[in-house]
C-alpha cells in the first residue's frame, strides 16, 4: 500500500497524521483558485458600492420605476393623436383596415376568447356574433366602452388599464367584423335584438 503513495511531484506528506490509511499533502491552495476568490471579492465590493453608493436606498426599485414610466409614456404618443372625438363612421373605417382587424383578432384570441369563445360564439361570456346585445346597441364604440370599463357585475374585467385604447378599438372593430358569422355550439341569444 505504502508504495502507491510515493509522491510523484514535489509534494510533501504531512507526517504523523493518518486517518484509516488516508494521508494529506502539505500543498498550498492553487494560485488560480485564490485569484478567482479575489475576483469575486472585487465583484462583491462593486455590487455593494453600486447598491449603497447611490443617493437612494432603493436604487433598483427606482430604476425599475423610471423604466416603467418610460415605457408608459412611449405608447400614448401614437394614440393621443387619434384620440379626440372618435365617431362611429371613423371607426367603421377600421373594418376596412386589415392590419387593425388582424391585431384586434390576435388580442381577442389571447384575452377575450377565454370567456367568449374562439369564434366569439359565447361560453362563460355572452355570444358576440349574433344580433342580440346586452350593453349598447352593437356599435363599435359601444363594444369599446364595454371592453374599457368592463361589466363588473357580470364578472367582466375592465381592460382600459391593461390594453391601450387604440388596441381596444381594434378589438371592438374585430368583434364587429365577426358579427353575423355562424358557428357550431353558439350560445343562445341574450339581450335586445338590434336590427341593422
Amino acid at each position: 500500500m505504502s508504495e502507491d503513495k510515493t509522491p510523484l511531484y514535489d509534494d510533501k506528506i504531512l507526517e504523523g497524521y493518518e486517518y484509516d490509511g488516508i494521508t494529506e499533502y502539505d500543498n498550498p491552495c492553487p494560485v488560480w483558485l485564490l485569484y478567482i476568490f479575489y475576483f469575486t471579492a472585487l465583484l462583491a465590493v462593486f455590487f455593494l458600492g453600486y447598491h449603497f453608493g447611490g443617493n437612494s436606498k432603493n436604487a433598483t426599485i427606482e430604476a425599475y420605476a423610471i423604466k416603467l414610466k418610460e415605457a408608459q409614456t412611449q405608447t400614448p404618443v401614437e394614440t393621443s393623436v387619434q384620440k379626440p372625438e372618435v365617431n362611429e363612421s371613423e371607426l367603421l373605417a377600421l373594418l376596412q383596415d386589415p392590419d387593425a382587424l388582424a391585431e384586434g383578432g390576435e388580442i381577442f384570441g389571447d384575452q377575450c376568447a377565454l370567456c367568449h369563445g374562439y369564434s366569439g360564439e359565447g361560453m362563460i361570456g355572452p355570444n358576440l356574433i349574433d344580433n342580440y346585445w346586452l350593453h349598447g346597441k352593437g356599435k363599435i364604440s359601444d363594444i369599446a366602452v364595454s371592453i374599457s370599463s368592463g361589466i363588473p357585475d357580470k364578472g367582466m374585467a375592465a381592460w382600459a388599464d391593461r390594453i391601450p385604447e387604440q388596441q381596444i378599438l381594434h378589438i371592438a372593430a374585430y368583434i364587429k367584423s365577426i358579427n353575423g358569422t355562424v358557428t357550431e355550439n353558439a350560445k343562445e341569444p341574450d339581450g335586445e335584438l338590434v336590427e341593422e
Binding site: 462583491a44 389571447d110 377565454l114 362563460i124
Partner: protein
C-alpha cells in the same frame, strides 16, 4: 463494547458496527428507486396533463413527494450509511450505541413512510422541502437528535486524536440541519393534520429560503463533501491534495453559504439590502465551493489511469465535475440581472438537478459500488455493468440539464419580450408554455435514461449480495491507542482538530453570524410594513379557500409575487408589496411559474370561468397543461374549523372584525351561498354552496384585492 484491552502493547481490538451501515445502504437503494420513479411521473405530467389521474396523483401533491423523497429518503439514507461507515473507521471506534443506531434507522424509515402516505393525501404545510406536517416534523427532529447523540457520542470515545476533514463536514451538517429545520418549522397546530407557520409574509419568505437554500448547502453539499474526502482517497489510494486547502475551503464554505438564501427572492418585494447581501455572498461562494472540487480532482494526480479502469473513480470524477458546474452556475444565477431571466423558469429546475442527479446521485452511486462489496465481503458482480450505468447516467443528466436550460431561457426570453410600443410580444401565457412542451418530453427522456442506468445498479447490487458469503462478519481492527498528549506541541487548526466540542461550537458560530444578521431584523416585521398601506385580511371563506390552495400544492406551479421588473408589471400588474402578503401564513410567493403569477388574479375572470377552469382547464384554455380538479366540486368545505382558525390568526395579529371572530362559520356560509347562487343562475347545475370549489373561487377572486399596493 467489544474492545478488549491489551495493556502491554497499548493495542485494543475494535469491532465496527457494519450491520447498521448495511441497513442504511439497502434503504438508500430502495428509496432512490421511489424518488426517481415519482420524478419521471411528474416530468411526464407536465407534458401530458391527462396523467394527473386522481386527486392524490396530481402534480401539486406528487412534486412535494418527489422532492422530499429525493432529499430525505435517498440523500438522507445515503448520508447516514456513509457517515456511519466512515466515521467508525476515521475515529477507530465502534458507533456510540447499537440501540440508538437501530432507533435512528427505523425511526427514519417510519418518517419516510409517513411522508409517502401524507403528501399524496394533501396533508402539507405548503413550504417547499418542508411540507411535512407538524407531527412528522417533531419526529424528524427527535430522530435527528438521536443521530446527533450517536455521532457525537462516537466522537467522544474515539481512538484517534485528530478529527479528519470528513468529520468536520459531518459536524457542520448535523448542527446546521438541526437549527434550520427547527427554526423553519415552528408552527401552531389547529388539528392533527394542519398547522399554521408562525412567520407571516416576508418573514416566512426569508426563513423559508434561509432553510431551503441551506438544505442544499448542509444536506446536499457539506455531508457529501465529507463523503468525498473519505471515499475518494480510499478508492484511489492517494493522499489528499492539500490539507491547507481543506481547512480554508471548509470554514469559508460554511460561513458564506448561510448568507446566500435570499438569492431565491431577488427582484421581489424583499428589502434591497438583503438582496444585495445574498448576491455578494453567493458570488463569493464560487471559490470556496470549487475548493472542494479542486481538492478532490487534484487528489487523483498520479492515479489518472484509474479513470480508465475503475468505474468507482469514474463516478467520483463525474460527480465532482457536475458539482463544479453547478457551483459555478449558482453564483451566476445569483446576479440580479441573470436571475431576472432565470428565476421562475425551468433553468432553475435544470440547475438543481445538475447538483442532485450529477453530484449527489453519482457520488452516492460511486460510494455504493465501493462499500457494497466491502460490507458483504465479496467482489462487485460486474464492473462492466457499472461502466454502462455511468454512461447511461451521464447521458440522462445531460438530456435533462440541456433541455431544462433551453426551456428556461426560451420561456424567460418570451416572458420579457417587449415590442417597440412597450407591449408584451407574448401576452398570452400559454403561448410560452406550448413552445417548451417538446423540451419537457426530452427532460422526461433524460429521467428515464438516468433511471435505466440505476436499474443496472439494482441488478448489480442484487447479484453482488447474492454471491456474498452467508455469514457476514463485522470488520475488526487492532487499534493502538494514541496518547492523549501529542508528540509535538500543536498550534492553530491542528490543536482545534483535537478538540471536538470547541470545533463544534466554532462551526455553530460560523453559521449563526449570517443567520442572525439576515433574519433578526425582519422578525419585527413592522419595520418593513408601511402603515399607510392598509391591508384587509381574507374573509373566513377565503381563508378556507387558501387552505385548499396550499394543500393542493398550487404554489408548486404558481407564484404570487410580481417582481420589480418591467415585463412582470406589464403582464401581471403593479409590483407586489411587502404589505400585500403581511398576513400570509405560509407565504405563497412561489419559486416556479409553470403557470402564470396569481398575485393580482382577483376579479380578472368571472366566477364561472374559475369554476369551468378548475373542473377542466382545457375547456377554457385549449392548450393548458394544468391538472383538472373535479373533486373540488364534490368535496365539502370544512366550515367547522374556521372559527378556530380565525381566532388563531387574530391572536397572531391579523385584524379580524368582531363579526368574523364571533361568527366565522356562518359568515363563510353566507359568502359561499352568494357565489353559489350566481354560479347557479349562470347554468351550474349542482348546488356548490358548501363545496370546496366555492371557497377556492372566493380566495382566487380576493387575490390582489385587499389593498396594500
Amino acid at each position: 463494547m467489544s474492545s478488549s484491552n491489551d495493556t502491554n502493547s497499548g493495542l485494543i481490538q475494535v469491532k465496527y458496527n457494519d450491520q447498521i451501515v448495511r441497513m442504511f445502504t439497502l434503504a438508500t437503494i430502495f428509496w432512490a428507486t421511489i424518488a426517481f420513479l415519482v420524478g419521471i411521473i411528474i416530468a411526464l405530467q407536465m407534458a401530458v396533463p391527462q396523467l394527473n389521474l386522481t386527486g392524490w396523483l396530481t402534480f401539486g401533491r406528487l412534486r412535494p413527494l418527489h422532492t422530499n423523497a429525493a432529499l430525505f429518503a435517498f440523500a438522507g439514507n445515503a448520508i447516514f450509511a456513509g457517515i456511519y461507515h466512515s466515521t467508525q473507521r476515521l475515529l477507530k471506534t465502534r458507533l456510540f450505541s447499537d440501540g440508538l443506531s437501530k432507533l435512528h434507522f427505523w425511526g427514519w424509515q417510519f418518517i419516510i413512510v409517513l411522508a409517502v402516505i401524507t403528501l399524496p393525501l394533501g396533508i402539507s404545510q405548503g413550504k417547499e422541502y418542508a411540507e411535512l406536517e407538524w407531527p412528522i416534523d417533531i419526529s424528524i427532529v427527535l430522530i435527528w437528535v438521536v443521530f446527533a447523540i450517536n455521532f457525537f457520542g462516537t466522537l467522544l470515545r474515539r481512538n484517534e486524536r485528530h478529527l479528519y476533514v470528513a468529520i468536520w463536514f459531518y459536524i457542520a451538517t448535523i448542527v446546521t440541519v438541526a437549527l434550520l429545520y427547527i427554526v423553519n418549522a415552528i408552527c401552531i397546530p389547529v388539528g392533527l393534520f394542519q398547522s399554521y407557520i408562525v412567520y407571516a409574509g416576508i418573514q416566512d419568505a426569508l426563513i423559508q429560503w434561509w432553510y431551503g437554500h441551506n438544505a442544499v448547502a448542509f444536506f446536499l453539499t457539506t455531508p457529501f463533501l465529507g463523503l468525498m474526502y473519505y471515499y475518494l482517497p480510499k478508492a484511489s489510494n492517494r493522499p489528499v491534495y492539500s490539507y491547507r486547502l481543506s481547512v480554508v475551503h471548509f470554514w469559508s464554505l460554511i460561513f458564506m453559504y448561510i448568507w446566500a438564501g435570499p438569492h431565491h427572492l431577488l427582484n421581489t418585494a424583499l428589502p434591497g439590502w438583503l438582496q444585495i447581501l445574498a448576491t455578494v455572498f453567493s458570488v463569493m461562494l464560487w471559490a470556496p465551493s470549487w475548493g472542494g472540487a479542486v481538492n478532490g480532482i487534484l487528489t487523483l494526480r498520479g492515479a489518472w489511469h484509474l479513470l480508465r479502469t475503475d468505474p468507482i473513480i469514474k463516478f467520483f470524477v463525474a460527480a465532482i465535475t457536475f458539482y463544479a458546474m453547478a457551483t459555478f452556475e449558482g453564483p451566476l444565477l445569483s446576479i440580479k440581472a441573470v436571475n431576472s431571466l432565470g428565476h421562475y423558469t425551468d433553468w432553475i429546475v435544470g440547475h438543481v438537478h445538475l447538483g442532485t442527479l450529477g453530484w449527489n446521485g453519482f457520488l452516492t452511486f460511486g460510494m455504493l459500488y465501493f462499500i457494497v462489496p466491502k460490507l458483504w465481503n465479496t467482489e462487485l458482480y460486474s464492473k462492466k455493468m457499472a461502466n454502462i450505468h455511468l454512461w447511461i447516467g451521464i447521458l440522462g443528466i445531460l438530456f435533462y440539464y440541456v433541455s431544462m436550460l433551453a426551456a428556461g431561457i426560451t420561456q424567460g426570453l418570451m416572458w420579457r419580450a417587449v415590442d417597440a410600443n412597450g407591449q408584451l410580444v407574448y401576452p398570452d401565457f400559454v403561448e410560452t408554455v406550448i413552445r417548451i412542451i417538446p423540451l419537457f418530453l426530452f427532460r422526461a427522456l433524460g429521467g428515464v435514461l438516468f433511471l435505466a442506468g440505476y436499474v443496472l445498479l439494482l441488478y448489480n447490487v442484487y447479484k453482488t449480495i447474492k454471491q456474498a458469503p452467508k455469514e457476514l462478519v463485522e470488520e475488526t481492527v487492532q487499534v493502538r491507542i494514541s496518547s492523549s498528549t501529542p508528540i509535538h506541541p500543536e498550534r492553530g487548526h491542528r490543536k482545534l482538530e483535537g478538540m471536538a466540542a470547541a470545533f463544534t461550537i466554532l462551526a455553530l458560530i460560523a453559521i449563526l453570524v449570517g443567520s442572525i444578521i439576515e433574519i433578526a431584523p425582519t422578525l419585527s416585521i413592522n419595520k418593513y410594513v408601511k402603515t399607510e398601506n392598509k391591508v384587509e385580511p381574507f374573509t373566513p371563506l377565503e381563508l378556507a379557500g387558501r387552505d385548499i390552495y396550499v394543500k393542493e400544492g398550487c404554489y408548486t406551479c404558481h407564484s404570487q409575487m410580481i417582481r420589480t421588473i418591467q415585463s412582470d408589471v406589464l403582464r401581471y400588474g403593479a409590483a407586489s408589496t411587502i404589505e400585500e402578503s403581511m398576513y400570509d401564513r405560509p407565504f405563497q410567493w412561489g419559486s416556479k411559474r409553470t403557470g402564470p403569477d396569481l398575485a393580482r388574479l382577483g376579479k380578472k375572470y368571472p366566477d364561472l370561468w374559475h369554476y369551468m377552469h378548475m373542473e377542466d382547464p382545457r375547456a377554457v384554455i385549449k392548450e393548458s397543461i394544468m391538472p383538472a380538479y373535479p373533486w373540488l366540486i364534490t368535496s365539502k368545505i370544512d366550515f367547522d374549523s374556521l372559527q378556530k382558525k380565525v381566532s388563531l390568526f387574530n391572536k397572531l395579529g391579523v385584524p379580524y372584525s368582531d363579526e368574523d371572530l364571533s361568527d366565522a362559520n356562518n359568515r363563510a356560509k353566507e359568502q359561499a351561498k352568494k357565489i353559489a347562487d350566481v354560479l347557479k343562475s349562470q347554468g351550474v347545475k349542482e348546488d356548490v354552496s358548501d363545496k370546496k370549489i366555492t371557497a377556492l373561487i372566493a380566495y382566487l377572486q380576493a387575490l390582489g384585492q385587499k389593498g396594500g399596493e
